[in-house]
């Protein structure tokens, strides 16, 4: 695997859109060629080298390319958008859409990220050591086919609208989650190690939500059906099992309705 190191030396006045900062775009390119790749600051299109110093060449394929981002990338958006393979490490904070529409590979952000990260993810891994903003692993506006697969792991807390329209994959939040988790979900798993504020599983058709702490304000559309013991993200524990959203439609499989599940740790 070859490593390309980008160091932000000339930060943008506004924000930088870096949808081309992916192993897919860097593969097969030399450092000089990578420095010539387009990035946008508002209506200005510039070569990446205007903002970053570039060291190292890309690997032969995306899978053989690792990108390390250094310097202040807190105003950098869309890193790893639609990436299929390879690895990205962001050594500090990053802005919006990190790992959006990601299909494969791995992104590791060592700081915090803003909203819309892991949007419409299909595969791969997005690891965030800090906290995440809103709409983590959510679906783009109007799209009913949200996150399809892959893993998002956030060490800290997440904002509201995690996993809206989720269809598959797993989101693990180490801290607390704000309102609206798995709204309209039709699959997938969300694990919240801390507390959830409320509106968990609203309009949910299918899927699983685990809350290790408390749900501050549970919805009336969920009904307690029993207790289960399960291993969740390596932790074996007993949970109270709720089904819902009973206000929402539910498909029938083998003569039985299929519900969304919420498990809260006892």
């Amino acid at each position: 695997m070859k490593t390309v190191t980008l160091t932000m030396t000339n930060p943008p006045e506004l924000y930088l859109e870096g949808q081309n900062i992916t192993p897919d775009a860097f593969a097969g390119k030399t450092a000089a060629e990578i420095a010539a790749i387009d990035v946008w600051e508002g209506k200005l299109k510039s070569p990446l080298g205007k903002y970053f110093t570039v060291e190292g060449n890309g690997g032969a394929t995306a899978a053989e390319t690792r990108i390390i981002l250094r310097g202040d990338c807190s105003r950098l958006k869309r890193v790893g958008q639609q990436m299929t393979a390879g690895e990205i490490v962001i050594e500090g904070d990053a802005d919006m859409y990190i790992g959006g529409w990601m299909k494969g590979g791995k992104i590791h952000v060592k700081g915090n990220v803003d909203s819309f990260c892991g949007l419409a993810m299909e595969g791969g891994e997005l690891i965030i050591d800090g906290k995440a903003g809103h709409h983590l692993g959510s679906s783009p506006r109007g799209e009913w086919r949200g996150m399809q697969g892959g893993l998002i792991r956030v060490a800290g807390s997440a904002g509201n609208d995690t996993a809206t329209f989720m269809n598959g994959g797993t989101i693990i939040i180490g801290g607390d989650a704000d309102i609206h988790v798995s709204t309209h979900a039709e699959g997938g798993t969300v694990i919240i190690k801390g507390n959830a504020k409320g509106r968990v599983g609203g309009q949910m058709v299918k899927g699983d939500i685990y809350v290790f702490g408390q749900i501050e304000n549970p919805l009336p559309g969920f009904k307690q059906v029993g207790e289960v013991e399960q291993e969740v993200d390596g932790v074996k524990a007993r949970f109270i099992h709720y089904i819902g959203d009973l206000g929402e439609r539910h498909p029938v499989s083998k003569g039985k309705p299929v519900y969304g599940n919420i498990y809260t740790r006892i």
Binding site: S115, F116, G133, H134, H135, G159, N160, D161, D178
Partner: protein, 138 residues
């Protein structure tokens, strides 16, 4: 009697604000329509106030002096209302929770009687003052 209470704030349109706004935001009508806070009787009592006294309302992002009136459209205890407009917007949190819409309604504020000598500021003084353009009454 408390000298400060925490309430849940909402800001919405009132017809007085609507009429006055069309007349002009620098008019006395607009000032009287918007530089007020409506509270439930119990909360007014808890603060030891009488209607028409001035209070300072402080949110997570700002503070404004307005006049207390008894809820015209009945509130429940703990809920406070400032008509949409310049005074309300001194304290409305700009956070949008990634929706584009500020938190115009449903944010915590503290309400306390003003220190002596504090007054309600005019719309122009508030807005121009906030951006460093206030040059005093012309």
């Amino acid at each position: 009697m408390a000298n400060k209470i925490t309430l849940n704030m909402i800001t919405q349109r009132s017809i007085e604000e609507g009429v006055a706004m069309e007349k002009g935001k620098t008019t006395p009508e607009y000032f009287e329509a918007c530089s007020i806070i409506e509270l439930h009787d119990e909360d007014i009592k808890a603060l030891g106030l009488v209607p028409n006294q001035l209070v300072r309302v402080t949110s997570e992002c700002g503070s404004v002096v307005v006049k207390v009136v008894k809820g015209r459209q009945t509130l429940y205890p703990g809920l406070a209302f400032i008509p949409q407009g310049v005074w309300a917007n001194q304290i409305v949190p700009p956070r949008t929770q990634a929706t584009g819409e500020p938190q115009y309604s449903g944010f915590p504020v503290t309400v306390e009687p003003v220190a002596s000598g504090e007054r309600r500021k005019s719309a122009l003084e508030l807005v121009q003052g906030a951006v460093g353009m206030w040059r005093g009454e012309q």
